[in-house]
Amino acid sequence: MTTTRRQFLGTIGATTALIGAPTILRAQSQPVFRVGALCPVTGSGSPYGSGMQKMIIAAAEAVNAAGGAAGHKIEIVAEDTQTSPQAAVLAAKKLIDVNKVQAILGTWSSGVSLAVVPLTNDANIILMNTSGAPALSTPPANAKGLSYRYQATNDRFGRAFAEIAEKEGFKRPATMAFNNASGIGNTEGFRKAWEAKGGKVVENVVYEPSQPTYRSELQRVLAANPDVIVTGSYLPDTTIIMREWFQSGQPVKWIMPGWAASPDLVKAVGADVLEGVISVDSVSNENAPSYKAYDEAFRKVTGQPGQSNVYAAMTWDMMNVLALAMEAANSTETAAINAKIREIANPEGEKVYTYAAAKEALKKGEINYEGASSILDFDQYGDVTPDFGVFFIEGGKLNRRYVVKI
């Protein structure tokens, strides 16, 4: 076959156009809905971030395999928050302005979520986060009702702490809180719940980050002779506090959030110091079929059990909820999707566990997506109520003794 110059130029032109076009167009003509995956791949959230990002991508693949949502194929653009509000804001700006994403999923740590939420509000897109700060529930952060939280609020953590303290028979609790919205949220939630049970908190101390020593703070708390100290703390400050407490020699029990009393804490201060410390973290909805689907996907991409990353189960749910709301709204407009989120996730409706099955069920009527991370019933603030696992540190290992529901 001979090629004329005109044919040749035509071919070159078509090839160039094809190369220039986004990948999707080459495969099929289905329109694209872009979603930003903004997870803490580096920084202090790094133990969780990469798994969170992978599960957003895996869930999007499952959605696309089931024919997409609202006639659209989901495309994920991933960025790293570095667990730092500054880096997260830059990344979110890039996702919104350059990539034109229509929703952002997966922010971790309250500082990051609180920094990103004004940007998503301005852009009129949905933000789904895994942070605890109470401020995320209400205006200005959630002024437009576009922010959804898949982690328990710090207030709910506090309530869980109160349940545990009662169950373990403590009588004289004291609190120590890192001075930020999340830390104080934990201990205030505890105080309110404990006083509602008729108890009394013997001492409350709020301390500052990055101090060379917390001995005076400890001295104040221990002077009140508590039988348990409930904290709203983080890993670095908890490391210092636990060492100084152990050296003080005064026996007392501790109840801490899981992000402080983690295997990293054991590594930093040693198993002796932490013997008997109670670590509380939200646990996934482990008996649900949706959890099984998540667990399979998680094992496939990471080789780890799904239990090793509670936040990855949350991000898996985020993508599913977003896609189901799109499908139910049959629209890619934020307002239309937002109006459907509670409808597809909250009760009344057939309980569904995977995207493909839910999409079918939607054709028949109302659905209620039961997530892998929790049953995912959003309240008026866009918050959910997961269950809490109670872990006792014994011989340097975190052993889960029981689960608390609030």
């Binding site: 920084g43 202090s44 301390y207 020593t213 104040r220 152990f246 003080s248 020699g249 002796d272």
Partner: protein, 287 residues
Amino acid sequence: MFYAQLLVNGIVQGLVIGLAALSITLVFGIARFPNAATGDFMTFGAFSALTAHQATGSILFGGLGAIVATGLVSLLAYWAVFRRLADRSVVALLVASIGIGFLLRAVLGVVFGHGQQVFQVPLTRPYVFNGIRVMPLDLQLAAVAALALALVFSLLYLTPIGRQMRAVADNRDLARVSGIRPGRVMVALWLVAGGVAGVAGMMLGIKTIVTPEFGWEMLLPAFTAAILGGIGSPVGAVAAGLILGVAQELSTPFVGFTYKIALAFIIMLAVLLLRPRGLFGQLEGAR
């Protein structure tokens, strides 16, 4: 008794601040600019001590590692940057030192990661004197600090190079016409300033945790102490560090733990308004 315990807590905190302030005040007195990289020199000292401690298992070698490595890094900063900017304004030098701080922090972050690291030192129960708890580790650290201070002060007041350093601090031009070579003085200054910051960093690191940002966060209290003590006065810096540490802890029953940090700044404000030359500073004449 309660206050006595707070006093003890404050002294330990004050020693760390005092050492950092000493490093700042030495540089300010002789090189004549506020060295904002001091905090990051501390961080560098903590990481070098950590590395030496992990390699040898000895705190002593950790301390030596901190002094030597940080002294050299500080000298390198002088040789590569501050020396070339010596004739520029204070602001140029200050900004350059902030830049060096950033660079150090970033390099440490890349090499060691941003996660926290700890010195694996055995945890011990305190000695109790009349109901006051004193940690054996704190006593050791106080001894290290005292040793470092003794070395620095004997260098400054008992050796020829120390006398030259003080002469340059007093009047640079007069020192030069008297035949003092500023080059040697500067080398000595940066080695000492780095070494002192390194020891402060190691002490802080042993007491707390080591991250690439932790020294930077100590910079403001250290500056406050340097100003309170009278800028350029080594004795003043150490004394002011102790005063700050103790005052912060003693104030906590009255103002709480959140505002004890503000106290440092109120003290600094008061000093600047009422006695700008600080506790031990000399009035600066027109130069």
